[in-house]
């Protein structure tokens, strides 16, 4: 599939929380299905559940346990390539360290890398998200 990389993206969302589409680009250059992550400026990085990492054989390095609202959870690091957006128009992030948690969390898109590399505007009134990359 041809991908057009871009520096600006706009999304509408329907859920109460701001959500953006993303996909992981695998080592063989194949892609996961499109997934939806919650924009979460309260998280310091992207976090995904362990089952997704296992399904795509992400390399995992053990971290100390995380203490979540749900209790103590085993956590791991992984380095991945992530495209944010829909396949015809995406912002690409390569070799990004993410957090993998052994719990059934939704995908969370935290500060690193999106909020560090992009201007992120969330218009809650109109349920729109604007991303501008430097």
């Amino acid at each position: 599939m041809k991908t057009r990389h871009t520096n600006s993206l706009a999304f509408s969302y329907t859920e109460p929380l701001p959500m953006i589409p993303l996909r992981f680009i695998l080592k063989n250059n194949e892609s996961t299905p499109l997934m939806v992550g919650i924009l979460d400026s309260g998280s310091n990085e992207i976090a995904i559940p362990l089952k997704i990492a296992q399904e795509y054989n992400f390399e995992l390095n053990k971290r100390p346990p995380s203490f979540t609202a749900g209790g103590k959870v085993q956590s791991f690091s992984s380095h991945v390539n992530i495209n944010i957006g829909i396949p015809q128009k995406e912002i690409e992030f390569k070799n990004i360290e993410i957090c993998v948690l052994d719990t059934n969390i939704p995908i969370l898109v935290g500060i690193y890398p999106l909020f560090l590399d992009c201007k992120v505007s969330i218009d809650g009134l109109n349920k729109k998200i604007l991303l501008l990359k430097n």
Binding site: T32, P33, M35, V36, I38, D40, I52, S66
Partner: protein
Amino acid sequence: MNKNDTNNFNNKWVLINKKNEVIFSSKNVKDVLKKGKEFKIGEVKIEKKLDPKSCYFY
């Protein structure tokens, strides 16, 4: 899809088509990822539906 399942996707992983309709759901994300592989990239998206009263931290 089972009719009884159509109204309550809270805390389930769902596969959504371009019309924003849920076409498959499961509590196990691996089931939804497997189903998602049957479609071309971009035709469907995978999302976890949240319980509206829940609060997420990690």
